[in-house]
Symmetry: C2
Subunit: 361 residues, 2 copies
């Protein structure tokens, strides 16, 4: 089947661009730094396996149910790069830790106690990272003494292997200027270094520091304070990431993820309405772009419709014509679809199920 | 199971509030006006059946695949209140028209020709409505002569039953002031009346005018130009609708839809981080509200996290505590979940599958 024959709205993965992105990351990162690609972006074991084949040591997930889907799909090493709170989730996490090499983050001593109890009940062990607050102001303990107190609690828990620090600055990924991004990560690195030194000075080995995303990872690599990076969006890119400034050392990735849409109404010469709205492409980080159609701008979305305004000199899309949209934000867009329609040079090559779609728990 | 035991994030339906909303609509609408509730909001035959039991003549859908899910779930009368463009979709629509009473909207003569051809091939007939542009500036033909030309094309198509006009003003639903909403719908009514008169003057019977949403339907009822209304969100309400002014004749509905979330991190006294972010509650129309917890405000969402800021005098939520969130926009929020956890007086009574979740085609 050719791309033009695919019914819409459909989530399209351009395999050439995707594979180029996977290679580009592998080429950019020196061997001393591990890549643990983030599966929150793609939610698809088929993609995870290709990242591992390109050198990734395993995957990150944000949710226990996402990790279950990855393990079920054949991934053997998963870090839940997030806190897991509540008896039901901890029980599932412990059961999963018996089936795969598993890691999890903590930022609270009560949670460490609950985690230890759940692991003991299941007869399981798990890698535990302290999430450090390095400027994002989301989860995480403060660097320094609070982190040391938590590390002592983990080290005293027989079912928990204290593995190191999780230091991720999510907000930094979308700061537009390369120099500003470098500055923010440099501040984060100072917290990482001082905390690691404090822990090791207290006799607690801190084997690994993990973190970093697609917008900053080369700064984490260059600063030398991280042993492992967690990029997710690099495989797809999206319109929001494309608005970042890209300059060395940050490699620029290609758009490989699209929403294919059909022009379903041409109410006037200046407007085409497409069949992909809020339920097909997430608008939390801005409207999707229209791919390789100069003069067309997707300006507004309702649940099932998108407004594409047609500039004066633009080629006017006909009723029934299909347009490729570049999602504003790839992660929540992927989460609305059940499969990738994988296309190479305009021909459908595979369907990859998004098995962790809707894996919220 | 009690509500507090439900794992999170979960989509919660408060059955008492939901049933009160269904009754409130039925009580408000006089018998001369038909209710055709919109299933784009709930995507769930269980809910559709209850709307029909309360007097609705059938359901609306926005997508062919959504209509398929409703027919599969036992709904016998469905209007696709949208244009259907493209051979694959028209073939599915025609097949469905052999299984149920089906309607569809058109705004283009080429589409009328393709629709007729698809129905002929399938040996099916379908109700066809002209979508009229009444001020929303989305799909639809202009009132007056363009609508008459399209009505003639439909009337000349043996497999298409010209049933009337579809006149929906989506933007009006969220205009805050009651008087402004009334004014906009009053302008729409003038277009509806003049076009209906034009068609009937030309000898084309126009049996039914359908349209209206949860923010305006009583104006359509009072103005007398509509025979059928299509409210969807009234069963749930959401934070965006709650920001509207509500005054007679518009009944005010209750919040019945919630996202249950767990406090997963308490990084500092002024912040609770919950486990429900962009992938659990759509933020296209603003952040979710925190239900019945004065002083708590959900101020920012990332993919899997929500920031809940804690006011100075507010009761501080503990780690692991569960909060009910009122989604900013109900329709795209529902579309991210696989089932409703139906709760009555704090106890889970049923799980209703959202069978048209992700029905994009």
């Amino acid at each position: 089947m050719r791309l033009e024959e695919v019914d819409t709205p459909a989530l399209i993965l351009d395999l050439d661009a995707f594979e180029a992105n996977v290679r580009r990351l592998a080429d950019a990162v020196p061997g001393r730094v591990r890549v643990r690609a983030h599966a929150k972006t793609h939610k698809c074991p088929e993609i995870g396996k290709r990242q591992i084949a390109a050198g990734a040591v395993g995957l990150c997930c944000q949710k226990v149910s996402e990790a279950e889907a990855m393990v079920e799909g054949g991934i053997k090493d998963v870090l839940v790069s997030n806190e897991v709170v509540g008896a039901a989730k901890l029980e599932r996490l412990a059961a999963l830790a018996r089936r795969a090499k598993l890691g999890v983050c903590v930022d609270n001593a009560d949670n460490v106690r609950d985690l230890e109890a759940a692991m003991q009940r299941a007869g399981a062990r798990i890698d535990v990272y302290i999430e450090l607050e390095v400027g994002m102001r989301r989860c995480g303990v403060a660097p320094g003494e609070p982190a040391l107190a938590l590390a002592r609690a983990i080290a005293a828990s027989p079912s928990l292997r204290f593995t190191g620090l999780h230091a991720y600055h999510g907000r930094a990924q979308h700061i537009r200027s390369v120099e500003e991004r470098r500055k923010v990560i440099s501040n984060a690195a100072a917290h990482v270094r001082s905390t690691r030194a404090l822990l090791e000075g207290a006799g607690i080995a801190c084997p690994l520091v993990t973190g970093a995303g697609s917008g900053t990872f080369m700064f984490e690599v260059e600063l030398g304070a991280w042993d492992e990076i967690q990029p997710g969006s690099y495989i797809f890119m999206d319109s929001d990431y494309a608005r970042n400034e890209w300059a060395p050392p940050m490699p620029r990735f290609e758009h490989s993820l699209f929403v294919l849409a059909t022009v379903m109404s041409r109410p006037n010469p200046a407007l085409a309405v497409v069949d992909a709205g809020l339920k097909a492409s997430s608008v939390d980080s801005g409207m999707p772009g229209v791919w390789q159609r100069p003069g067309l701008a997707y300006t507004h979305a309702s649940d099932e419709h998108g407004w594409v305004e047609i500039g004066q000199d633009a080629a006017s899309p006909a009723l029934g014509e299909k347009l490729l949209l570049v999602p504003g934000h790839c992660d929540p867009t992927v989460n609305m679809h059940d499969w990738y329609v994988c296309v190479r040079k305009g021909v459908v090559e595979a369907l990859w199920p998004i098995t962790a779609r809707g894996a919220l728990y």
